[in-house]
């Protein structure tokens, strides 16, 4: 009966399923749910981008591209990264187009990890970081960020986690789930730490287009950091292209070569149609990005103030589209809070502990929903809190 189980990899068997799954199952069967649980933009990809993909199909562009991606796309990415984030990468051999930022992260980790290597992962974080380190044969070492520092990781805490096996550090700014943006001094402290211990920094910058208060600073733009940074970005969030599964990774030549080996064997290339769409997004999509960013900023202002007013203490998230309020004042755990809110008021949020133990006591609310939905959610949450 249990025979098949013996065929499964120990590593995979020991992986914990994502805590988000449970809430998906619970919410998916309900009618009339206002969902703040969605980790993607509420915008549909702009029509000009969709139209470019349709055209590419009409023209019969359905074959493989170069392993690293269409050269014209890589050239656009190179120019875009330079003008937007002031980092220089060669289209020729330092940029790889991937199947979402997730695959970029996967090949980056697999390219640098030998069995037993440790990678520091800062939590609360996106659910797949630690599992991907494990799957690559490494050991994730968790360092927590906390609310007292607006969820900015502290160099002193990083120091405590370093061993002689530490190879890299994985950070994400703006952060999912906290919305925290690392500022110049935070990045400098992390960069100094990485240099001191000769570590690589895997910098997940997928939300870089969505910052609301200050210009974005890329880790790779800091002095001396380009050579030790693997920069991950993509089209999902800033360009509202999640379903296209298109990301990219920028790294110095030697690291890029190694990642390309994995990519060519495991993936061949990213979907061709999506690559043509991305070319259009980079050539003509900037106005759409600005419009979406303005819209998120206004909704953030509305939603975070509303949370604080109803008594859920929330720091101002500088980017992404998540608010990460504390629910400690209610005396409920984050799972209890999320479950009762869903059952009693049909508002779906994600409990903070799904993003690491340090997320306990918080919930992640995505404000990438229409104002009408947010207003309804605020009304229901207020009612829920008054009843508690």
């Amino acid at each position: 009966m249990n025979r098949t189980k013996t065929y499964l990899s120990k590593t995979v068997e020991e992986l914990k399923p994502s805590g988000i799954r449970k809430f998906f199952d619970l919410a998916a069967g309900m009618e009339g749910v206002v969902s703040l649980g969605v980790g993607e933009p509420d915008f549909v990809t702009s029509w000009s981008v969709r139209e470019a993909a349709i055209l590419s199909l009409e023209q019969g562009r359905t074959s493989y591209t170069a392993n690293a991606g269409l050269i014209e796309l890589r050239e656009e990415i190179s120019a875009y990264m330079n003008r937007t984030f002031h980092v220089q990468y060669s289209a020729e051999n330092e940029i790889i187009v991937t199947v979402g930022a997730s695959q970029a992260l996967d090949i980056a980790l697999r390219a640098i990890i030998d069995p037993g290597d440790e990678v520091i992962v800062v939590e609360p974080s996106f659910v797949s970081y630690a599992p991907l380190v494990t799957l690559a044969g490494g050991t994730p070492v968790i360092v927590n960020s906390d609310k007292s520092h607006d969820f900015k990781v502290q160099a002193a805490d990083l120091e405590k986690a370093v061993t002689n096996k530490t190879k890299a550090l994985l950070i994400c700014s703006p952060n999912n789930p906290t919305g925290t943006v690392l500022e110049s001094e935070d990045l400098t402290a992390i960069a100094e730490f990485a240099k001191k211990h000769d570590l690589l920094v895997l910098s997940d910058e997928i939300y870089a287009e969505l910052v609301y208060d200050k210009p974005y600073i890329s880790m790779a733009s800091l002095p001396g950091m380009r050579e030790r940074t693997i920069l991950i970005n993509g089209f999902s969030k800033g360009f509202a292209m999640t379903g296209w599964r298109l990301g990219f990774v920028c790294a110095p030549v030697e690291i890029s070569k190694a990642m390309l080996k994995i990519h060519q064997y495991a993936m061949m290339c990213a979907p061709t149609m999506a690559q043509y769409a991305a070319v259009e997004a980079l050539r003509n999509g900037n106005d759409d990005v600005i419009e979406m960013r303005n819209s998120y900023r206004r909704r953030r202002n509305y939603f975070v103030q509303s949370l604080n007013e109803m008594g859920l203490d929330c720091h101002i998230p500088g980017g992404a589209f998540y608010a990460f309020p504390s629910v400690k004042s209610t005396g409920l755990s984050s799972e209890e809070f999320a479950e009762r809110l869903l059952v009693e008021e049909k508002v779906a949020v994600v409990p903070g502990n799904a993003f690491g133990e340090s997320g306990e006591g918080h919930i992640r609310c995505s404000y990438a929903s229409s104002m009408a939905q947010l207003q309804e959610a605020v009304k229901r949450m207020r009612r829920f809190l008054e009843r508690l």
Binding site: I20, F24, A28, G37, V38, E40, V44, N301, A348
Partner: protein, 166 residues
């Protein structure tokens, strides 16, 4: 007139949703309700916010009689007042819903609403073409409205996202 950043934000938000509660609008632009109300009042007084209206899809209403026509009008501008004088003569008619001065092969683009095609034909024949400065008119009747002022009438793009995702 130069607007402050906050005023511009308020205008942009209200242009899309004029019915948003002021308390919510205030939060969106990070101001107090009083400050927001004061800015709105000032925008109204300066006639920058001219009116708050609803966009109605009359075609959905059974029994509604209505025809819209776009009329290209060629006119002779007058010394000293240019196009403004004849434009004013035309836009004062309540049948005229919009009027723009155009570049290109004609001068004024006039939108007219009436109950029937006959009513509009009568207006053009009796009121519009008889004006001294009007040289010629070309009338186009609108058959179906797909999109108006940036809003698609039959928006079918609902939220297709899965309810919870990482």
């Amino acid at each position: 007139m130069t607007l402050s950043e906050k005023e511009l934000e308020i205008v942009e938000i209200l242009e899309k949703d004029a019915r948003i509660p002021t308390a919510d609008l205030a939060k969106m632009v990070n101001l107090s309700v009083e400050e927001t109300e004061a800015l709105m009042k000032s925008l109204e007084e300066r006639n920058i916010i001219v009116q708050y209206t609803a966009l109605v899809d009359w075609a959905k209403i059974d029994g509604h009689q209505g025809v819209t026509a776009m009329i290209e009008v060629k006119v002779t501008p007058k010394r000293g007042v240019g196009f403004d004088e004849v434009a004013e003569r035309i836009y004062r008619f309540k049948e005229v819903k919009s009027l723009y001065l155009m570049s290109g092969t004609y001068d004024l683009a006039v939108t007219i609403e009436g109950k029937t095609m006959n009513e509009i034909a009568k207006f053009v024949a009796e009121k519009l073409s008889t004006l001294d400065s009007v040289v010629s008119t070309t009338t186009h009747f609108i058959m179906k409205k797909y999109k108006h002022d940036g809003t698609i009438f039959d928006q079918t793009d609902g939220d297709k996202r899965i309810v919870v995702s990482p």
